[in-house]
């Protein structure tokens, strides 16, 4: 039996065994998702990282993002096929995820096209249109809001896995 972000027990985007046992898949999901979130927060904080780190970090983020999407591809297909048979909340989650995918893809694409360090360092020199920096700016802000919404809509799953991790760590130290 697995628990989902919606509190159902029939398998979802992430699977978590009940009680105090975390499945390897759930550990992979939470690890990857936390890394993605931290990487996006850092990449968005341009003044903190500086441009060079911003570009390399964003390229790495794009690669991990594809892995994230790949790992949840089953959920994407299942939810898309049953979109109108599910509740309004499921549709909202699906819509937020779709917008996030488009926004983040455009953000990475425009970032790559206006790259000043990373791509030239890889020997790629692109001549991009002048609007791409505006697109980058706009999609970065939109993505920040959508990432926050994406995480927030899974708050039950995050809380559950967080509790399980805390329980696991508290028992590890005991004799």
């Amino acid at each position: 039996v697995t628990a989902t972000p919606d509190g159902t027990t029939s398998g979802g985007r992430w699977s978590v065994a009940p009680r105090r046992r975390l499945t390897p898949r759930a550990r992979l999901d939470i690890g990857l998702d936390a890394t993605l979130l931290a990487a996006y927060v850092l990449a968005y904080s341009f003044g903190f990282t500086g441009q060079e780190v911003h570009e390399w970090l964003s390229l790495a983020l794009a690669a991990v993002l594809i892995v994230h999407l790949t790992l949840h591809w089953d959920w994407v297909l299942r939810t898309t096929q049953r979109l109108w048979r599910r509740g309004a909340r499921r549709r909202l989650v699906w819509l937020v995820d779709l917008l996030l995918l488009v926004s983040m893809t455009l953000c990475v694409l425009s970032g790559v096209l206006v790259s000043q360090y990373a791509l030239p360092a890889l020997g790629v020199h692109l001549t991009a249109g002048s609007n791409w920096s505006h697109v980058h700016d706009l999609t970065a802000q939109l993505t920040l809001a959508l990432v926050a919404a994406h995480v927030a809509l899974s708050w039950q799953w995050v809380a559950r896995v967080g509790r399980q991790l805390a329980a696991r760590w508290s028992t590890v130290g005991r004799p």
Partner: protein, 108 residues
Amino acid sequence: VRFVRHLVASSLVIAFICAVAVFAGLGGQPGKPAIFCPHGCTPQSLGLTPGDPALRHLAAPASGHQPPGPDYANLAQTVVLGTAVAMLVVAVDVTARRRRRARRTRST
């Protein structure tokens, strides 16, 4: 094999979004230089007006030199903004859930 299949499918979706954006001309006229530069640029050096929204990332000081270190305030701003949006969404979600539950209880 399944992972590879899903990887190919998700990559194709991403490639499709990129292709649509490029062919729709979202980036404007190619050949013009992108308005983007590392720390130290000034709007004037790029031939732009100071209030241009494309200069959000520049954060160039008046002297035009690179800032001495990482801007922690910028990081904090991102965290606060993201957390605020997330908390708002959670609050709305919890309220909707409670209302649904109350309606269900009333109907039974």
